[in-house]
Symmetry: C2
Subunit: 255 residues, 2 copies
């Protein structure tokens, strides 16, 4: 009997409050008890980041005691394909899943939100399918879906396109391409940026898009200090919002 | 002081277990306590379906007692734009938000999953932004994100395209168009179907797609009887899976 690969959602708060209100928010604000219970019993994890996974498990332990001591829980980091290292090879991924082949349940967890969405975990999930392991995704926060719902933009057709180019000219060209795509298919386009470039991306969007295009920003999702604004580009320009450079944000547009 | 529009995720089980194991699954398996607590205190709802919203609130009440009796809670159905009725007018939507303008918090809830995603709720969210109301999305299950994570397909670029045409020739053309789009942008394409057409859509996908294209199906997400399969079209054909005609499914492809 092989183990199951559980896809464990993480919070969106990166284990810290960005306000002055003290420790991290209660896990139960954003994670179902079902997922917390599962996290408390898994003996084995594949993680985007081992350190933040240990911090996550400490928060789990405050709600549901861990079945075994934290030190006894095996946490293996997913190899990083995007830092000059060779791409994730099927062989290395199958090694990470060896405990599941041996009958243990394994959790996959990322730094924030759903694993395998906007992070490198998908290759592990594909390896699990190739090994005929059972894959079970657990409910939890997804910044994309929270941002899309909060945008009020078309939720019946949407695309997530990841990061935009950093180079200004290439970024402007990409924004105009996305606006055209959005207009043609009436498809909401969602994108993210590293927080310290939030203001640069917002400026680039306001400069490149038509005034009638709708632009939504969700900043600090699930945080008490979070906000969601959805307006035409013209309205954003005539009444600007300042955006922090240390808080994750999701940007959405509909032309 | 105006009220807040809370976007309340619903379960994906439609209030029933599709197995023989008795009543609906525990709300806490899929919904965070934070969302359940909020649901228990909201005096006013806009709902895709009032009847299923009352059933949802009864389940909430089993975990966190409702602040006021169910009969005292105001539930207004969102006008249906897609049934020959006139499109949702800004005026009618602003009427639905009158309680929020008068200071009461309002919840928006759909039949399943995140409201305003793959359902008609987005117009209400846009109306709330136009009225400068605060919009707060709450964490919970999203069949799209669960299916995408479970697919192991590209989670860094994906699109949800809703329903495919029912007409066989138009459906095949649309599937081929999506395969081309997916190949060109390396973008996972997600779609849904009414459950009784699950088998027809699966067949159409297997017949229209290239053998090397990857196809994933998530059926009965969050249910004990649920399953997720991700394979090449060639593998699906040589080893078919039967798909039930009474259980919601999400289909994903990556060429």
């Amino acid at each position: 009997m092989t183990g199951v690969l559980y896809l464990m959602p993480n919070t969106l708060d990166f284990g810290v409050t960005l306000s002055e209100s003290g420790g991290p928010p209660d896990l139960q604000e954003v994670l179902p008890l079902g997922a917390i219970r599962m996290a408390a019993r898994l003996p084995c994890w594949v993680a985007e980041n081992a350190k933040t996974t240990r911090a996550f498990l400490k928060r789990v332990n405050e709600v549901v005691p861990l079945t075994q001591p934290l030190q006894a829980i095996v946490i293996t980091e997913l190899p990083r394909a995007n830092k000059g290292a060779p791409a994730l090879s099927p062989g290395s991924l199958q090694t990470l899943l060896a405990p599941a082949l041996a009958g243990q349940d394994v959790g996959l967890i990322s730094e924030a939100g759903m694993p395998a969405v906007a992070d490198p975990g998908a290759a592990l999930v594909q390896a699990a399918h190739a090994l005929k392991l059972r894959v079970v995704p657990l409910s939890g926060p997804s910044s994309m879906m929270l941002a899309l719902a909060a945008s009020g933009l078309n939720g019946q057709s949407f695309a997530f396109v990841g990061y935009l180019p950093v180079d200004a000219a290439a970024r402007t060209a990409r924004i105009r391409e996305l606006e055209t795509l959005s207009r043609r298919a009436q498809q909401t386009q969602l994108m993210i940026e590293t927080p310290y470039r939030n203001a640069a991306l917002l400026n680039a969007l306001l400069n490149a898009l038509n005034g009638s295009t709708r632009l939504a920003v969700s900043c600090g999702l699930t945080l008490a200090t979070g906000w969601n604004r959805s307006d035409t580009v013209a309205a954003w320009k005539s009444s600007p919002s300042s955006i922090p450079n240390d808080t994750p944000a999701v940007f959405s547009l509909l032309a």
